[in-house]
Amino acid sequence: MTVSTKSTEYPQIFFPPGGLMIWIFILMELLVFFIAFVLYFAVQSENYQLFNRSQAELGHNLALINTLILITSGYLVVLANHQYLAKNLLRSIRLFQGATALGIGFVVIKIVEYSQKISQGLTTGINAFYDFYWTLTVFHLAHVVAGIILLLFIIFKLKRGGHFLDDDFGVETVSSFWHMCDLIWVFLFPIIYLI
């Protein structure tokens, strides 16, 4: 039986969709990436030509495909949430499966990109740009993999009837996490690959 933890004694801000803890986590993750971006721009301003030259060696087409994949995956998660709230569990499961498949596609493309870079000898320690490239993209990829595992967990739970233990961890929690992965990549793509 679902027990609502919401109370009228506290402001609504303490009860965001998906539970407060996931939003504290999201805020912390965004702060980490924000600090990394500031550091990136600081180092880039001192090594502009090196960063431009290194950036030209990256697989831009693969990165664009990955961006479109993650944006579409986030869209499917929004639709899945909508169907879940409308009690259409089967449609919600299908949409979550679609989002998960796109997430797996992102990981596969990233592995292809990484294998190309490793075969060209473009690993960490080559220069400052590649240190940032590997650190930021691998850290982001770890979040995407965690997101895929969470999406699979949600699909598993929905297939068993969609009953969650409480309001603190459920469809909205995982959706919020997935949107965070999407958001970080939307900034990471132009910063690392384009600008």
Binding site: Q12, I13, P16, P17, W23, I26, H60, L64, T67, L68, I71, T72, G74, Y75, V78, L79, H82, S176, H179, M180, D182, L183, V186, F187, F189, P190, L194, I195
Partner: protein, 83 residues
């Protein structure tokens, strides 16, 4: 759900445009600031949506309109400023 579809289309359009501006030889003679504008607007839209979702303002349509209006205005001013 129409709103979600429109926003998805806008994000795809902005991201692809920023990529084309940066990579197509016929377009990259334009101001590099334009690439930044397109790319960061895409990020800001996504960030704003998540912020509104956090604040549970998804049902208050007037807030969406103001936010999207403000973003559109910033976007137009940025393009005017960079060209």
């Amino acid at each position: 759900m129409k709103q979600a579809t429109y926003i998805w289309a806008i994000l795809i359009l902005l991201t692809t445009t920023s990529f084309l501006l940066a990579k197509l030889p016929s377009l990259n003679n334009l101001s590099p600031n334009l690439t930044i504008t397109f790319a960061l607007t895409s990020g800001m839209i996504k960030f704003s949506l998540i912020f509104l979702y956090f604040m549970e303002m998804k049902k208050t349509h007037f807030a969406w309109r103001y936010l999207m209006g403000a973003l559109l205005l910033t976007f137009i001013i940025s393009i005017y400023w960079t060209l």
